[in-house]
């Protein structure tokens, strides 16, 4: 953190690249939430596009999950990394031109993914529904991005890395491997149960080895910077990091418990999942301990508020994980809406919240304009928080109802009928989140517009304005 002060900001960080990724991410999160909300209408019999092949509910569902992971989170992460890594290493990325190429190519591939999924060419692998023909291209683009980012990290190897760099470095190395493994092996090489074992590694490692480390790195950077206080314990954060590296990859089979995958593999997955708690508690403790030095700032600053709710969600999901990974709980909750609630909590409650925090922190700096509306930010925060907690509570309850009805051998349709009230609440909570996201995109758009209008003003005294 210390070495970032001196260098002139303009030369070190490519503001344009960071900004491009973040702005497009804001557009995508809106689309992703819209798709999810639309799909939820199918469950309460209000689906607006019945019998239209291109907008069939199943296809919209795949667009929703793909947009969340690859369009929204990945773009937000890429944008943040373009800022964070040069700042932390004091070196530029390898090439700005390459960065722009990655930006255009990656987002073109996203659009192609959406078009082909809607056209009925999805791949039959969970979280890897990206059409088969696009997979190799995405792999290449990801490798190029990694190359661009690893260069400054490598150049800075003389000094000890701040913990965020460790997280990012590991994620950059893991992600291409995980992507190649998950998209190609089960598709072309391993059928049936052996393919499922690998596919479950992909499902898990996408979250565990791409989203989690980069998200944690983002939180560990933003917190000390805004609070202007050092992290509570750097050593503790490193222990958390190595815990992640050793336990996370082994977790995977817990996605297919009681499946025909060999049982010893499932047991290994369960044991490693419990080991993940080392990671979780160090991160949570470290973040909360850092925050507790200055609660007043945490509560009054929007990015920190997002960080705070994110870390609470992180703690809850992870405790939940320890419970739901046990075989006796799996009997009931597997295949139910419980799991759906869990994944929303992780990807929205934790990592999207941390991305929101970053965007609210960084965009005003990149655009040299304060956010257009503070009350919109506040509404975005409260609607997202209210929405995700309501959704979580609702889906967990729905899961318990469904699982017990199934175990009790009630006719299947009974579980559908019993779920309908829960699905109404789910759609309502989705509406809350959607309105929050709409305010978000409007707010960002207006900020961007204002920044364009201001360009005539000589930019130099802009630091003051950026106080989010």
């Amino acid at each position: 953190m210390t070495n970032s002060v001196k260098t002139s900001e303009n030369n070190l960080v490519s503001y344009g690249l960071a900004q491009a990724h973040l702005l497009i991410a804001v557009l995508y999160v809106f689309i992703a939430v819209l798709a999810g909300l639309t799909f939820s209408l199918q469950f309460i019999d209000l689906y607006p596009f019945k019998d239209i092949a291109l907008l069939s509910p199943g296809r919209i569902r795949m667009v929703h999950t793909q947009a969340v992971a690859y369009a929204w989170l990945a773009n937000a992460f890429f944008g943040v990394l373009h800022y964070m890594i040069p700042k932390l290493t004091n070196h530029k990325i390898y090439s700005e031109k390459l960065g722009w190429f990655v930006f255009y190519a990656y987002n073109f591939l996203i659009l192609a993914t959406v078009a082909l999924i809607l056209g009925g060419h999805a791949q039959g692998l969970e979280w890897a529904e990206t059409p088969r023909i696009l997979d190799p291209f995405i792999a290449v683009v990801v490798v190029l991005f990694v190359f661009n980012m690893v260069t400054p990290i490598y150049k800075a190897r003389a000094n000890p890395y701040y913990v965020s760099v460790w997280y990012v470095l590991a994620a950059l190395i893991w992600t291409p491997i995980v992507y190649l493994m998950g998209n190609f092996l089960p598709q072309y090489v391993f059928p049936g149960t052996s393919g499922a074992a690998i596919s479950s590694m992909y499902i898990h490692d996408l979250v565990g080895l791409f989203v989690t480390p980069i998200g944690t790195a983002m939180a560990y950077y933003l917190l000390p910077v805004i609070l202007k206080r050092p992290l509570y314990s750097h050593a503790l954060s490193l222990i958390g990091f190595w815990g992640l590296a050793f336990f996370y990859p082994m977790n995977s089979t817990h996605h297919y418990l009681y499946s025909p995958i060999p049982m010893w593999s499932q047991y290994a997955g369960i044991v490693a999942s419990v080991g993940v708690h080392i990671v979780v508690y160090t991160v949570v403790f470290n973040v909360i301990a850092t925050m507790s030095q200055d609660w007043k700032t945490v509560m009054s600053n929007i990015p920190l508020r997002f960080l705070f709710v994110g870390i609470i969600c992180y703690l809850i999901t992870c405790i939940q994980c320890a419970v739901q990974v046990t075989l006796s709980v799996q009997k009931i909750i597997h295949f139910t809406d419980w799991v759906v609630g869990h994944s929303h909590f992780v990807l929205f409650g934790v990592f999207s919240f941390w991305s929101f925090a970053w965007i609210y922190y960084l965009l005003p700096r990149l655009l040299k304009t304060p956010m257009y509306s503070a009350s919109m930010m506040s509404w975005h925060f409260w609607l997202s928080t209210g929405g995700i907690f309501l959704m979580q509570f609702d889906l967990l309850s729905a899961g318990l109802v469904q699982g017990n009805l199934w175990a009790d051998l009630a006719p299947f349709i009974d579980s559908v009928i019993a779920s309908v009230p829960f699905w109404w609440v789910r759609t309502f909570s989705g509406m809350m989140i959607f309105v929050g996201e709409a305010l978000f995109i409007i707010n960002v758009y207006m900020t961007w517009k204002q920044s364009r209008e201001q360009t005539s003003v000589p930019s130099g005294s802009s630091v003051q304005m950026a106080k989010a």
């Binding site: 019945k50 000890p160 059928p191 049936g192 590694m201 499902i203 060999p262 009997k331 299947f412 559908v416």
Partner: protein, 221 residues
Amino acid sequence: MASKNFEKFSSVFLLAGLTSLIIAFLILGLAPATMVNGMAPDEGLPAKIPSDFQKYYSSVDQYRSALKHGRDVYVSEACWHCHSQYVRPVSNESLRYGPVSQPGEYHNVLNLPQLFGTRRVGPDLSRESGKRPNDWQFAHLYNPKSVEPRSVMPSYGYYFEVRKKDGSPLKGEDFNSPEVEIVPKQEAIDLVAYLQWLGNQVSERSNSTFDPSAIVMPPTE
């Protein structure tokens, strides 16, 4: 301080972190694969056309490629996001769906990639074959509410053609007349062929080289 000592070994740790992913991949990913034999291109595919489908397909090859096509439709519509394809040994699932799934059932080209699924909005389909007649399946796909009024499954009307029995073009208002018929397009026929195949391999494991005794199974209740 502690973190300083830690960082001395940083590159060792980084290698170790990478290794742990590779070890995990070998143990959890590849080891299960070594327990099953290699697979022929037509592994596990049926040797004859079921009688119900003889009017749709003239040769076994045609039927086999129809199964693959039906499966593609199943993938592209994300049926597998609402329907699982394995029966667990718990929660009375064997009473509801049929025999608990065995690894060998999935050792065929129609499970490349597998479609285990992780969510059951609708029932498990791994024992669907023969559970319902073809007509029920067609009616259900065309409009699930026609056979199950409280269903939340999407309708797939675009895989059917609504036309007059004499072949003349349909004009708006005569939709309900007895002259009108709703016929499945090729996609719907192939999809139902696939659905009626699911679970078939339990009884007719025709040309599989798989040895089930090689696998350690989860304990049954």
